[in-house]
Every structure is written in C-alpha cells, then in structure tokens.
Amino acid sequence: MTELPSSQVLIALAENDQLVEAMARRIELGDPDAAQDVVKHWAEFHNTHAIDLLQVVERGQIQRLPSHKFFLAMSFLCKILPELDAPSQRMMSCVEALVAHAGDDLAATQPNGALREWFVRWPEKSREVISASMAGNDLASRHLTFALEALGDAAEARKMALSYSDVRQLSAITALGRIIHVDHASSLDTLATFTRIMENHPGDEVRACMLVSTMAILARWPQTDPAIAAPLVDGFLKDQGPITLHHAARALWVDEITSQEDVLNCLLKALESVDPTHKGTLEELDHGLFRLMGSGSSAASISFVTKFFSSGSDNLDFENFENFTASLVSGPTERLHRVVVEWLLLGNTPLCLGLARALEGNGMEGPSLDVGPEILSIPSLTQEFLCRKAIGWFFHKPRTATSILVSVLRVCDEETAGKVGDLLAEMMLLNFGCMKDYLTGLPSDDPARSHVDRALERNNSYLEALRAVPDINEFDPSESQLQIQQAHQRNQMREVGKLAMDKSIFSKICRTATLLYGNRGQSFIREAQGHLRPVEMEMKSFGVTFETPRLEIIDPIKLDYTLRVFRSERLEK
C-alpha cells in the first residue's frame, strides 16, 4: 500500500511553489485507487484551509509548466476541483483560465466538466450562478450552461431561453439539450419553446444551438412525433448559416436519426448547400454519411452524395468523403455495382473520379466488378455508353473496366456486343497484356465467352503480326538519351517516394532508420537495470508493378484524347 504524503509535505510543497510539479507527477502514484485517496486528501487540506489549491491557477503556477506537464497537472487538478469548497466566482475564474490556457487541445474543456461536477456537488452554487447571470454577471452567464445542467431544471432553462437574446439564451438552449427531461411531455415543452424562439428569427448561432439540443432530445425521445420534429428542424435549416449547417452535418452522427426519416431528409436537403470550402463541415458530413451507410440509411446517404456532386460546383473533391467511400466500396457488392453504374451513366466527374480512386484490389489492376443482369437491363445504347465510361474512368484499373465490359457482353444484343467487343479488343486487350489472362480465365460457359473469344482472337492476330517484325536497331534511343531518361525517371520516383512518405501513417508514428548495408538489422533497447535487450529485424523488399498501356508509348496523345472523350461525353436525353 502506497503511503500518502503527509500534510507537512503538502504544505511544504505549496510553500515552495512545487505543488504543481507534484500534480504533474501525480505524486508518483500509479494506482488509481491511491490517486483517488490523494484527491480526497488534498481536497480536505484545501477545504480546511491548510493549503489553497486554486492559487496554483490564480498565481499562474500551473500555466507556467511546460505543455505536457501542464496537461498532466490540469488533469489531476480537475479530479480535485469538484471536491473543493470555494466561492463560485473564484472557481469559475480558475476554470476559465485553465480552459483558455489549454487552447485548442482536445483536453481543453476538461475543466468545464469538473465545473459541472462541482455544480452537481454544490447545488447552491449553481443557483448562485444562475442568479448572478440573471443579474448580468458576465462570468456567471458564460458558465450558466453548466449550472443549469447540474440543476437539471428544464423549466428554468426554458424560461431563460425565452427571456434573453444574448449569451444567456445560448447557454440555456445548450443546457436544454443536455438536461435529461423528466418525461416526454417536458421534452415536447422544450421543443415548443424552440418553436417560439424561432418566431423571432434568431441568428445562425442560436439556430445551431437549438438544432443541437433538438437532436439530443430526439435521440433520447425517439418516439417524438415527426410531425413536430421535422418542421422544427426544417425551420432551423431554412436560410441557415454555416454554423447551423456544420451542426446539421454533425447531427447525422446521431444513431437514432434513422428512425426520424423526415428529420434526416430535412438535414440532408439542407446539407446539399454546404460550401465546399468549409472543410470542417465536410469532414463532419463525411462521418455522418459513413454512419448512415452502416445504419440502414445507405440509400439516403448515396442519394445525397450523388446530388451533392451533381451540383456543378468546381470546388468539390471526392477525397473529402473518404469514410463514405470506404464504406461504399467495402459494403455489399450489389449496392456498389448499382452505384458504379448509376454514377458512370451520370458521368459526373468528381463522382467517377472518386470511384476510380476508391476501387482497390488485385494490385494496380483494380477489382473485378461482375455487374448483374438486373442492373444492366438498360437500353443498348446506354449499355455501350456505360462501357465507354467504364474505360474512360477505370482505364488505369484495367480489370475493373474489362469486367464491366464483360458484364455488358453477357446481357447485350449482338449489335451492341460488336461495339463492346471492339472496345474490349482495341482499348483493353491492345493496351494491357494482363487482361488476356483475365479474359482467358473466364469459364467456358460464361455467356460472354464467344464475344470475348473473338476479341482475344483479334488481339492474337495483332500480336502475332507485331512479333513478326524484327527489332530495328538503328532507331533505338542512344546511350546518352537513355541516361537522360533514367535520370528523369529517378527524379520522378524520388518525388513519388517523398509524396508517399508524406502520406504514410508510418512516417508519422515511426522513426526512420536507414540501413546502408545488409538485409537484417539489429539494435538494442536499454532496460530498467541497464540491461541491453537486442531487437532484430528481417528486411523485406516491397514494391508494386503495373503495366504501362501500350498506347501510352505508341500513341499517347490519341489515348489521352480518347479517354477524355469517353469521360466527358453525355447521353442524349
């Protein structure tokens, strides 16, 4: 059992301004129970005026600690704060100072939590703060939310929300989202209060607060009538500002949102107008859509993304939706195939480009998409158009493009098969030798087999004719030209390496060691008693290979032109 520091020790630490250092070290206590005892022990000393713990903040001692020590000490202090008997003004000032000093750190609001607990522990202090706020005390108004939340008095909060139009209103509305209403009727009263506030056409911040609180209430009371909830949310989102939209995106995270379909639709409709330059909101939106994909609302999520990217805005980038995309690609294949077909036919650049980037599998060849006949029961012209789009967008993932062409060949009529066969032979087989293996590997009873065989035959004739042409050495690049090329390629690879390193998660969490010799590495870790423990590593090579499309060498401009045409052409309505 660890022995707790005596009062003399604590006093000595306080007198020597070493209290905060001790806090940062957590008094050398690893055992959580022991730490809890220390908290009580220290609070007792404070409450009996043996030491004044708030002084460590008021005198700036804790703020002077180096960053990592500051957070350790603050965390320790936050455990003690709820237990301290102190005037509310002092307590709030200290909390505010700590939050301000913590800045943008994720742990910055930890003192607010401590304050909330303090209000719960000392309810009379809450009332004191509410009264002070009503009297116009700024500090009290800034901490009103925690006081109201601690008291759990929804009626008082509703009253304040209606009575004021300044920070106190925001605090009261926020508190209403956090207070656990005693019953459903009380929560409906709160929603009614919000409806009344809306009558005064509040600003963006107030609407955002009400939206957040409403979503919290709906999460707790999912049985709330959509006829009440949806118009209210719709109201918040009409002529909304960026803050409301940001919180609307965040609202998608709420699991229970799927049971409020009308509310979800309101949110998604409003979110269609998100400014693509508001990256933070897009990030929230991406997370929200990801949640929807996994919670039975994938159709709504996909439909939203489709509409969002069809708006024609130049700033849209599918990379902002990586969580959504990951969910789409790793989800049910039938769903993915439908989306692929729908988006290709739509021909929207960011959507198709996003898909092309997201589809992974079989190394650089891309995954095989065996699209089912029910998805491909579209007019012949559309089938051919789909194939051109697939080549345009998935050309550099040849297996993906080829598999879509084969899928079409399985279901299309003879005339279309001729055209798709041309594309198969002229674009895919001619460019990628690896596609020959893929196509020859199709089962003999595959409905596309005969068309595929014709394309393979064409390709064979082409290759045989090529093989019959001997090398003509006279026009080979010279040694010096090859050296220039190699230098150029080395530079390109170096750039690619740098980019990869910048994007690699490993480079952020690991230290780089460069071994100049050998294929194994050994280093030593010094253990507690100075003992050296060897750590060995086997070196492995890694790399990727990809096939350069033949036309990239033989006719790059035409290839570029063709792919651009395939990507940009549209179906006539």
Binding site: V469, E474, D476, I554, D555, K558
Partner: protein, 563 residues
C-alpha cells in the same frame, strides 16, 4: 587495320559492291582504268579493265573478273555465269575484239578478283586452268581478299595519305558501329580530316573523295553485318555534304581532276542511296503495313523515343525518295518505270507507316517540321493523289490543337532531348510560353492545308495561334549569302528566319506572305547545289543539321493560280 579491311571485303554481298571500290583502288595505285563496270552491255567476262605497271615494272593491261565472297566449286564451273566460262569468254572474245588498239601490244593479266578466299576444292581447278592457258602474252592472277586488303593499305589508305590519327578515328568508327552516336562522332572526325587534307589541291580533293568513299563502304559493310546501319547513314549524309563543300569551287571546270572529283561525288551519292535503301527498303518498308509494327520494332520504353524515331524514318523516306526522284530526272529517262515506281513505293510506304504508327500524327518537337516537309516534298514530286496527305495534315493539326489546349504533349520549340524528355515539366503559363516560343512547323502545316483548301482546319489553327499561341513567333527559314559556305559544313549560325508570319490572319495571308518572301529572296538561287541542280543536297543539309526546309522548295506548288 588489314584484318578490318579483309573482313570488310569478305562481307561484301553483291559483286557490284566490289565494283564500287576497285576502280578507285586501281586509280590510287597508279592504274588507268579504261573500262568500268556497266550494266546491260556485254563485257565478255571483264568487269574492269585497267592499264598499269605490274610488280615486275612492266606496263600491262589488267582484265578483272569480279566475284563476291569466297570462290566455291559452284562458282567455278557449271553455268554460263561461272568463273571458268567468264575466263574463257575473256580469252575468246574480249582479248580478240575489245582491247583498244593502243593497248593491243601490251601483255595481258587476267585477274580473278574476289573479297574472300579461293576454297581448297577449287584451287586445283584454278591452278590447272591457269597453267594450261598461260601464254607469253596472257598471264593469270588471283586477287583475293587478302591481296586486295594489302593493296588498299598500300594504296588508297596508305599512311602517308591517311595519317595515324585519322586511321584511328576510322578504326574506332568501325569498331563502334553498335553505338551509332560514338561511331558517327569518330567518322565525323575522319571526314573533317579528309576535308582538310583535300583542301590543298584538286588532286588531293579527288583522293579525299575516294578515301571517304572506301572508308564509308567499309563502315557500311561492317555495320550491315552488325545489324545497325545508323552510323553509316549519318556518316554518308555528312560525307556527301563535306565532299560537296570540296567540290563546289571546281564546279564548271573541265579538267581531269574536276571530272574525277565529280565522278567520285556521284559515287558517294550512289553509296548514300545504297545505305539509305538498305536501311529503308530492307528494314523499314517491309513492316510499314503492320499496325504499330515500326513503333514496336524500336526498343523504346518511352513514347518520345517512338515519336522521334517515327518522324526520323519518315524524313529519311522523304529524303531518299527525293534523291531517287532526282536521279530519275537527271538520267533523263522519263520512261524508267522501275525507278518511277520506286519513288511511288516510297510514298505509299510512307503513308502506310503514318497510318500504322499513329504517333506520326503527333509531332513532339518543332524540328520535326523538317521530316514532315521532306515527306510532303516527296509526295509532291510523286504525282500521287492528295487524299492521304490531306488527312494526315488535318489530323496532325487537330492533334496539335488538342495537345496545346490540354497543355499535354504539344510540340516544343526546343530540340534538346532533355527538354523533350521532361515535358511537360510543369503546367504553368510561363513554362508553356517558354516551350512554345517559336514554331516553323505550324506555318508549314497551315500553308499546305490552305493549299488543299482545308478551311475548317486552317481556321482552327488560326484561332489557336491567336488565342493560345499569341506569344509564339511563327517563322520559316531560308538560306542566305553565308549559307553557301556553312550549310554544307554542318554549321548552324547562318540563313535568315522569315518571322512574324500572319498565321492568325488565315491561310491565304500566310501563303501570300511566304510567296512574297520567296519572290524577293535572291540568295537561295545562288546556293551552289541549287544552281547546279544538285538541290537534294540542300535538303540533305537541312535534314542533317535539323534546319527547316526552305519554302522555295514547295511554295510554287502551293501558290494559288495567278499569284
């Protein structure tokens, strides 16, 4: 050195390849060649006849019967072209009827000349034949590869007239035929050395031309065996130009040296065409109709190399075809269907090449305008229909427009391989302007398209010139008064650029401006090669040094009637 020459002689594939060097060799040894190889006339077994001193110091007449490679049993007897039959014909017909009167008193040496060896199984037959037929007047000699190589080293390439440093360059050029850049660099040194040596006197000029001819032959034969004709092709181009530079001061003179020099020069032209034909007709054209055939045949991993090679070969097809056309014109045999067909075949093969190697629709460097112009000129002289040429030029214009608009692989003003290889290095406007600062190719293409009345495409290029390429200086190049001395030496700082061509004002204004520039130019007609009718030399110089083809070559054909 002897081994090198010996191997060259053994590798000669055609009998006429020995024909090509033996007269020069004999001349340099002090012989007077009185009969040269000819085609279509009966020689009664004698390929070359020469008068000169034998090793015993007596003046004799030497009658040569030539044969390529080794002499085998099949070569010796059994058919009308066999050696024995030829030797009999010499004795029975030539000696009795064809020896000029003034040499009839001389004793005769019948020489069996060949590049290789007399094989053992023939040696007895040869020995028996010569013993039986040797008389007081008639003797027989075996001139095998070893003997001819010795004579070459003793004669035309002897150290006194081909110093060690030039011999060294020559040896290195031959040794490095697999590395054309290196081989050519050594051969260029040799050519320059011979040019300097020839500048002393008319006799020296003739000797230099002959030396160059034989050195080039040796290089060619070695390269042919090595399967890489690039070095001799380039060497023959520079050889032609350098020798013209030697020859041109003597143009119009009637002296023996001037005639000999002219003859040597014609041999060089023939050798150049032999090399070019070996390369193009045997290696490229048979595969021109294979889709992507030529593009694949180059061991290139980069589209730039395919592109450069394709345009290079198209330019060579154009140039070689134009030389053939020139020979046809010069011979005055308007009805020579075979040669005329040869020119047409070159044009046809060129179009096949374009169709099957689509990179030929997408020039990557402005300098490729020279290759384009050479093929256009060949087409112009061939009398073939315009459909394919119009389609080629239109597609090329469309692709250039696309490449410029998409800032992709548009043609660069720079000819530096480093720039071409790194392109597009960046997407900035500054880079675009820098890399498209000037063009001689676009005016060329536009002028031709205008002549073909391709209004839509011309409008497209004009719009491109106006919007995207406003900064670009559109120009053409013409030789000026300095070009006469520098054009044939491979120098670059001569001639004049006709610039600020009004490309954005439409094709007609462009054509009119070019026509006016040509009309008012007085320097072009004064260029020796133009004045004397050896105009393909100007094209060869432009091809070799990558100068644009002067518009004087094509403007007449493009000018609207009445202008």
């Amino acid at each position: 050195m002897k081994l090198l020459i010996r191997d060259y002689l053994a590798s000669l594939k055609e009998r006429n390849e020995l024909d090509a060097i033996l007269p020069d060799l004999l001349s340099e040894l002090g012989f007077t060649v009185i009969s040269r190889p000819g085609r279509g006339t009966s020689q009664h077994g004698v390929d070359i006849a020469a008068v000169g001193e034998d090793e015993d110091g007596e003046r004799k007449i030497f009658l040569f019967s030539l044969k390529q490679g080794d002499v085998t049993r099949q070569d010796w007897d059994g058919n009308p072209q066999a050696i024995r039959a030829s030797l009999n014909e010499i004795r029975d017909a030539y000696i009795r009827n064809r020896i000029p009167v003034r040499y009839q008193t001389l004793r005769i040496v019948i020489c069996l000349a060949f590049g290789g060896d007399l094989q053992e199984q023939v040696r007895d037959s040869w020995g028996g034949y010569t013993r039986e037929n040797t008389t007081d007047r008639i003797a027989f000699e075996e001139w095998n590869g070893d003997k001819i190589a010795g004579l070459i080293l003793k004669g035309i390439l002897r150290e006194e007239i081909l110093p060690n440093d030039l011999r060294s360059s020559f040896r290195k050029a031959v040794a490095m035929v697999d590395e054309p850049d290196v081989s050519f660099a050594h051969f260029l040194r040799l050519t320059e050395g011979l040019h300097r040596a020839g500048d002393i006197s008319n006799k020296a000029k003739v000797r230099s031309a002959r030396q160059l001819n034989i050195c080039l032959w040796i290089l060619f034969v070695w390269a042919r065996d090595a399967g890489n004709l690039e070095a001799p092709y380039r060497a023959s181009e520079i050889g032609l130009l350098k020798m013209w530079d030697l020859l041109r001061p003597g143009i119009g003179k009637k002296s023996k040296d001037a005639t000999d020099l002219a003859n040597s020069f014609i041999k060089l032209i023939q050798l150049h065409l032999t090399i070019a034909s070996e390369l193009i007709e045997k290696k490229v054209l048979p595969h021109a109709n294979v889709r992507h055939g030529f593009s694949r045949a180059i061991k290139a991993r980069d589209s730039l190399d395919v592109n450069l090679a394709c345009f290079e070969v198209l330019g060579r097809i154009g140039l070689t075809g134009l030389w053939l056309h020139w020979l046809l014109d010069r011979s005055g045999k308007k009805g020579d269907d075979e040669m005329r067909q040869g020119v047409v075949n070159f044009v046809r093969a060129g179009f096949d090449l374009i169709q099957n190697n689509p990179t030929l629709y997408s020039p990557r460097a402005d300098r490729q305008g020279t290759d384009i112009a050479l093929f256009l000129l060949l087409w112009m002289h061939s009398g073939q229909g315009a459909e394919e040429v119009v389609s080629w030029l239109s597609e090329m214009a469309n692709r250039i427009t696309f490449a410029v608009q998409s800032r992709g692989l548009y043609p660069l003003s720079s000819a530096d391989y480093r720039d071409l290889s790194a392109h597009p290095r960046e997407r900035s406007d500054e880079y675009f302007k820098e890399t498209t600062c000037g063009s001689a190719m676009l005016p060329l293409i536009t002028a031709w398209l205008e002549a073909f009345r391709q209004d839509d495409v011309v409008k497209k290029i004009s719009a491109l010139a106006q919007k995207e390429l406003e900064h670009c200086t559109f120009q053409l190049w013409m030789p000026d008064s300095n070009s006469e001395t520098e054009l044939f030496s491979g120098m670059l700082g001569h001639g004049k650029a006709v610039f600020d061509l009004p490309l954005c004002e439409g094709g007609r204004r462009l054509l009119t401006t070019i026509a006016e520039a040509c009309r008012t130019d007085t320097d072009f007609p004064k260029i020796s090669a133009v004045k004397t009718g050896f105009w393909p030399l100007v094209l060869t110089a432009c091809h070799h040094s990558r100068f644009p083809i002067p518009p004087q070559f094509w403007i007449q054909a493009l000018k609207p009637p009445g202008e």
